[in-house]
């Protein structure tokens, strides 16, 4: 340090701004992207208060009336109930079937494993419109002959199908992250296979199963393309909104859409809090 001077190096303001920007560039752009993600949600929220006439496109004035009775408009609440029922049933079935498949895929060696992998992967790589079209043809030209017509049941069957692969993949990742020696230890301590599963394996993979169930529910609840093909006259919430969009979506749909958003966020934040509280207790 022979060139040391008496005054310490002070970068110019411009230089400091530049350095600060370089350090925070990623975070700043991330915040911008998050704002972009939330922009339509904010619009949905704002326009739920719009005192609109025939169409809800331009702001016309503030009103509480859509929040006071969201069921006032024909079909909104009925379609919501259908969506919740479809979501609950398909989530339950897909989660059970998918978890069993994931266990087989990780824990066992068997003939046809590669083929099973393909069978699980391809539905995720198939555009929804192709799956919807295929289901429509089989429901109309095949299964209609055995008394299955388009409606609630066909929606549930289709939703279970497209949720299944996502459940398998999510639960599989969780099982793969487990140390198999824990289960071996249980067996060394004379636990039966059933006891080992229910007392050791299941509690350990439960977070994965819960995550998979949440994913399945949100996939089912928000599905429109496949539902549109297989629903017949039955209406789910996304289908109601889509059909309504031709003549103007009523603000009541915004009320319900935004409420579901708030509910889901509370649920996710709650789950996060519970797991972090548990984690800190565990450390003590």
């Amino acid at each position: 340090m022979t060139t040391a001077t008496t005054t310490p190096y002070r970068p110019s303001t411009a230089k400091r701004v530049q350095v600060w920007l370089a350090n925070h560039f990623a975070m700043l752009s991330a915040i911008l992207v998050l704002l972009y993600l939330f922009l339509p949600v904010a619009y949905t929220f704002a326009f739920s208060f719009n005192d609109h006439g025939k169409t809800n496109i331009v702001w016309q004035g503030f009103t509480w009336k859509h929040w006071q009775d969201p069921c006032r408009v024909d079909g909104v609440c009925g379609s919501l109930v259908t969506s919740l029922q479809v979501g609950a049933i398909s989530t339950a079935v897909a989660t059970v079937l998918g978890t069993l498949m994931a266990l087989a895929m990780v824990r066992y060696r068997f003939r046809g494993k590669a083929a099973s992998n393909v069978l699980i992967f391809v539905p995720m790589a198939t555009p929804e419109i192709v799956m919807g079209a295929a289901l429509l043809t089989i429901f109309v030209q095949g299964f209609a002959n055995i008394g299955l017509s388009l409606g609630f049941t066909t929606i549930v069957f289709a939703h279970i199908m497209f949720c299944l692969s996502f459940v398998v993949v999510t639960v599989k990742a969780r099982i793969q992250s487990l140390d198999p020696r824990i289960e071996e230890a249980a067996q060394d301590l004379y636990a039966s296979p059933m006891q080992t599963f229910w007392k050791v394996t299941f509690p350990l993979i439960l977070p994965g199963i819960a995550g998979a169930a949440m994913l399945a529910f949100s996939l089912s609840f928000d599905d429109f393309i496949i539902t549109n093909f297989v629903s017949g006259n039955e209406s789910t919430f996304p289908k109601f909104v889509y059909v309504a969009s031709r003549r103007g979506i009523p603000a009541e749909a915004n009320v319900i859409g935004f409420s579901m958003f708030v509910l889901a966020v509370l649920l996710v934040v709650g789950a996060q809090l519970v797991s972090s509280v548990r984690a800190s207790k565990f450390k003590e």
């Binding site: 066992y108 192709v130 079209a133 995550g211």
Partner: protein, 303 residues
Amino acid sequence: MSALAHVAGDPDVTPAAPAPEATKRSWTAYLLLLPGALWLGVFFVLPLVQLAAVSLQSRYPGFPGYYYRDVNFENYAAALTDYAPHFARSFLYAGMATFLAFVVAYPLAYAMAFKAGKWRNLMMICVVAPFFTSFILRTFAWSQILADEGWVAGTLNFLHLLPGGNIINTPLAVIAGLTYNFLPFMVLPIYASLERADPRVIEAGGDLYANGFTTFRTVTLPMSMPGVLAGTLLTFIPAAGDFVNMELLGPQRGKMVGNVINDQFLAVPGGYPVAAALSFTLMAAILVMVFLYVRRFGTEELV
């Protein structure tokens, strides 16, 4: 398929110590697998077989809208000649949306993985949260945002940056909608693969006198390739088959192939065979592209 697994949530999952490969061999595996495999067989494979059969049906002479079982490839010829522009638009718009989604998603995924610290979980929730509002409502919100009376079109017109004068009902709006709708499918896998990367490796790039860009190009980006790969597939595939964005944001003419399939099935009487041929062509084209793409850029991690 671990890259896709990360999309499905549970970011806390980290691969455990090298687990001994599954060794159990028993009939139990088949029992566990059977119900799900059966379901996929009946409600995925069988419908596709039926769709293939429909795509080969022939027109009943004299009875418009009636078809009989046949092995007739004319529907495919019609699908490829009459609707070639629709396919081109689908792949072009989906490709552009995928590229834009990558550009927008990367900084967010990067910030979440390396800069967010204790805010990481919150940011994760923020990425997923908008998707709990119905996607059709959000797409409709875009039609309000991009409307001629809206501030986006207003600002751009004020700056004379819009040659046509409007955004809504143009391909631009469709691409914007597709980019927005599938963005989280790009963010989450990139985040998952960056999160597993060791930040010290990136610091080493800087220590070896690489500038920011070189470090990014030669260290960070290659490390996140499995995530980028999964993300582009998860964005491109649904975008190429989508018709909702075109319906709600796009022009009246110049539709995408998804719109044609949807209309032919649900609105045009007797449209099944051509629509089935279109669906199969779309699926085949996507599978071929995915295959080539994975072979070119792929890692073993994807499947």
